[in-house]
């Protein structure tokens, strides 16, 4: 289970076996059933969560509507990031879609790691930079591409999520009206059938 997490971290820093075992002693394995909240609005985020197995979404409320800003699967990290980084109460809900197993590192543990070695500071910097890049891409994609293009891009890069994620969640995440989403799905299915005879 920890190997996946080690692989994830190796994208950012090279850890010695000793360093990884220091980290391993600080992480918590957390299991959640489906449709459970890891954090609610107003709470302070204490964890950074790496997903070993399962599916999770992050959203906020606009009136009664849920606006989904992230859908995370195996190998992704998710938390209420601003609350985690700033200590402010969360304005987001993080909730499982499927039963999910997390490797979670608490804020307390991360602060402890930061005092041990500059390498952990480096990992923190690179991971946060990556999260910033994801945010930038998310914004630029929304501006650059039309609704149809966003739909096709998501389908080609995250085909597996189409099977796993309820359609209304995907529509919210891609900022596409549910009716438009259905229309695009049928349009593409037809197109796909035509080109693959």
């Amino acid at each position: 289970m920890l190997e996946d997490f080690e692989k994830y971290l190796s994208k950012y820093v090279e850890l010695t076996p000793e360093e990884f075992s220091t980290l391993s002693s600080l992480v918590e394995i957390r299991n959640y059933d489906k449709r459970l909240r890891l954090i609610d609005i107003g709470e302070e985020e204490q964890y950074l969560n790496f997903i070993v197995k399962g599916l999770v979404r992050k959203y906020f409320y606009k009136g009664r509507n849920e606006i989904i800003t992230q859908i995370a699967k195996e190998g992704d990290v998710i938390n209420s990031s601003v609350s985690f980084l700033s200590g402010a109460p969360s304005t987001y809900v993080v909730e499982t879609i499927e039963p999910t197993t997390f490797i979670s590192v608490s804020k307390h543990s991360i602060d402890k790691l930061y005092t041990l070695d500059t390498k952990w500071q480096r990992a923190g910097r690179l991971i946060t930079t990556d999260l910033l890049m994801q945010k930038e891409y998310w914004e630029l994609d929304r501006l650059k591409y039309t609704t149809k293009e966003r739909f096709v891009r998501f389908l080609t890069t995250n085909g597996d999520l189409f099977q796993r994620v309820p359609q209304k969640y995907l529509a919210s995440y891609l900022n596409i009206q549910p009716e438009t989403f259905s229309r695009l799905k049928h349009f593409l299915r037809k197109k796909f059938a035509e080109t693959n005879i």
Binding site: F60, K62, I67, T69, S81, V82, L85, S86, T91, Y114, T118, Q121, R122, G124, R125, T128, T129, L131, L132, M133, K135, E136, Y137, W138, E139, L140, L143, K144
Partner: protein
């Protein structure tokens, strides 16, 4: 325009700026100084064109820079950076890929910048740099998230009032259609909302 001024003239400004992110000593700060440089641009000058790779992280000392993207014939403003704000094409700088966004000055601008190589070298050689870098990126992440959050969550009127109360002078410094684009408000709606704020009297 102006003659390049020694970075040391702005050392106190820069020291104050960096303290926002993390407490560092004057000694640690002095180690960083050689990595910074001043850059100057006239108004209405493109600092970074679409397709170029961003080579600098910059903080505005004086003036105003606009970040925007051209989409299907429209210019969408993404950031308006004034004194004390950081401005760069983040994705291009970090990923070393051609920039989607364009940086253009609206006023004559003085910047304190560190180039990509300088950043990499400072990270290697100066112990406090990793922590500082992490805190700066963290700060940028939080700022970015709150902008998206406000764009998605708040109504047009709320966005307008929130921005105008926090940045009352921008109405004088920035053309209306650019402000409207930044706040994602239609120009006609923006004109209508303007009566909600009284003009700020310059002293």
């Amino acid at each position: 325009m102006q003659q390049p001024i020694d970075i040391n003239v702005y050392a106190d400004f820069l020291f104050q700026f960096i303290q926002k992110f993390g407490k560092i000593s004057r000694e640690e700060f002095n180690q960083l100084i050689p990595y910074f440089q001043m850059r100057y641009y006239d108004k209405k000058t493109v600092m970074l064109q679409k397709g170029e790779v961003e080579n600098y992280l910059s903080v505005v000392v004086k003036g105003l820079v606009r970040k925007f993207i051209r989409v299907r014939g429209n210019e969408i403003t993404l950031q308006l950076a004034t004194e004390g704000h950081m401005i760069q094409s983040e994705v291009s700088f970090h990923t070393r890929t051609p920039s989607d966004v364009i940086l253009e000055t609206l006023e004559p601008v003085a910047l304190i910048s560190m180039d990509y190589e300088g950043v990499q070298e400072a990270l290697k050689k100066i112990p406090v740099a990793e922590q500082l870098g992490r805190l700066i990126v963290t700060y940028m992440f939080i700022k970015k998230d709150s902008r998206y959050y406000s764009q998605l969550k708040n109504s047009t009127r709320e966005r307008f009032l929130e921005y105008m109360s926090m940045h009352p002078h921008m109405l004088q410094r920035v053309p209306q259609k650019i402000l409207a684009s930044y706040l994602n408000i239609k120009p006609e709606t923006f004109s209508r909302l303007k009566h909600l704020v009284r003009p700020v009297k310059e002293k």
